[in-house]
């Protein structure tokens, strides 16, 4: 399992919900940024994959909002601390490539879901607040489902051949 990233402090249930919401919103933004990159670099297949991933994360964010009931997670998320690095489900921008395939995108997604799973698991293991623990356990279940889903998707998109990045007409080759 991935290591849980250094994270903002969870003092109560509201903090946990706000962080969980923010994790999903960060993922939406990141996938949309990657989709924009693929659009610019004419990789339409990956545009669709990243937009689909962004949409899925947006739905997860809305689910967390619903779980929060009347509590305003959106506003609270603005005031909580931040992760030391990328938030758990933000795909690594440095791994992007203009010729990347759905397998690469799903690998990024898998790592994100595993980081989120590790993060919520660390909350379950460390919190002394029963309400936080219960909610974190629910979030662990959610993330475990997402990990399983990405594994299923990966079966449809096998690893590409080793020369996937070869480009006989590269857009930026030296002349």
């Amino acid at each position: 399992m991935s290591k849980a990233p250094a994270a903002p402090k969870v003092a109560n249930l509201h903090d946990l919900l706000a962080i969980a919401y923010q994790i999903e919103i960060d993922a939406v933004d990141r996938y949309n940024l990657l989709a924009d990159q693929m659009e610019t670099h004419n990789n339409p297949e990956l545009v669709k994959v990243f937009r689909d991933l962004a949409r899925a994360e947006g739905i997860h964010g809305e689910e967390i909002r619903r779980m929060a009931g009347d509590f305003d997670v959106v506003n609270h998320a603005r005031h909580i601390g931040k992760f030391a690095d990328d938030s758990p489900e933000e795909a690594d921008l440095g791994s992007a490539h203009y010729l990347m395939t759905p397998w690469h995108a799903l690998q990024l997604s898998l790592k994100g879901e595993e980081r989120a799973l590790a993060y919520f698991t660390s909350i379950v293991n460390t919190t002394k607040d029963p309400a936080v623990k219960k909610m974190a356990e629910e979030l662990v279940e959610e993330e475990a489902e997402h990990v399983n889903l990405v594994h299923r998707l990966l079966r449809k998109h096998p690893e590409p051949s080793k020369n996937w990045a070869d480009d006989l007409d590269p857009p930026v080759s030296q002349e």
Binding site: L34, K82, D85, L93, G94, H97, V172, Q174
Partner: protein, 278 residues
């Protein structure tokens, strides 16, 4: 007048323009853009009170991607533009974006004198040790043995050491960051903007297209082992002996920022115009 605390009023998205970056996927400059917007949001700066000025190169595209005022200037001349703006509009937050080609080669002389003048602004150089936009020529920070089609066998020229040059020339704040560490970079940029005088922040920003080897930087960078010093001699020794991957604030000076001489400017433009009449 009571100062208004605008922190938490602005979101990162408020500083992003609708223009989609055309950097290569995987480029470190995407992270730097995120650090910029995070920095401005952390400081609660109204977008119209910030001006991002640049020269030419991949890194210099950044003003177009922010929603602040911007000036995409002439190659290597961004610091001159920025100094002029800051002196005439000291109320603005002026951030200058450059790369190792734009900033250390064609703009090298401006770099020295900007450090010396110590105008209150922040200079960010996204250093990828290569000219990316023009397809991979060696830059002043390229390693001497780095072999390219355009420099077979490497340049065999000693690389420029920007942090030492900045220190020797009088920069008042010197830091090194890694683009992949978005939050840490934003924290350093916040400090750089707050620090009076000329702040210089070098950001190691990998060029995945012409320097795929730089993907390894994320495993090479590490925090500087000691906190920032205000002693230039100590700072020089530390910077000269580090491995080029020490991150953090390395020097905080205490020089007074440049102020134009009182009464020394022409305020009557019509008179000035007359003086130039032939």
């Amino acid at each position: 007048m009571t100062a208004v605390d605008t922190r938490n009023v602005y979101k990162q998205a408020d500083y992003k323009s609708d223009v989609k970056p055309i950097w290569c996927p995987g480029c470190g400059d995407y992270h730097v853009l995120m650090s910029f917007t995070r920095t401005f949001a952390q400081l609660g700066l109204p977008p119209e009170q910030v001006c991002v000025i640049s020269g030419i190169g991949c890194s210099s595209r950044i003003p177009a991607y922010t929603n602040c005022y911007g000036f995409h200037g002439v190659h290597g001349r961004s610091l001159a533009l920025a100094a002029g703006l800051k002196v005439t509009r000291p109320d603005l937050t002026v951030v200058v974006a450059s790369g190792d080609g734009d900033g250390y080669s064609i703009g090298g002389n401006h770099f020295l004198h900007a450090c010396r003048r110590n105008v209150d602004m922040t200079y960010v150089v996204m250093d990828n040790h290569i000219y990316g936009m023009t397809k991979g020529q060696p830059s002043p920070t390229t390693e001497p043995e780095f072999d390219t089609a355009l420099s077979p066998g490497g340049t065999r020229v000693r690389p420029f050491h920007p942090l030492v040059v900045a220190l020797a020339s009088g920069a008042n704040f010197i830091a090194r960051c890694f683009s992949g560490h978005v939050n840490e970079t934003a924290d350093v940029l916040v400090e750089a903007i707050r620090h009076p005088g000329f702040s210089f922040v070098e950001i190691l920003s990998p060029c995945v297209t012409f320097r795929p080897d730089e993907k390894a930087w994320k495993d090479l960078v590490h925090p500087a082992p000691v906190a920032a010093t205000n002693d230039p001699a100590k700072a020089a020794r530390r910077i000269m002996t580090d491995d080029g991957f020490n991150l953090g604030i390395l020097y905080r000076g205490s020089r007074t920022p440049y102020q134009p001489a009182a009464g020394g400017t022409h305020t009557d433009l019509s008179q000035l115009e007359k003086d130039f009449e032939l």
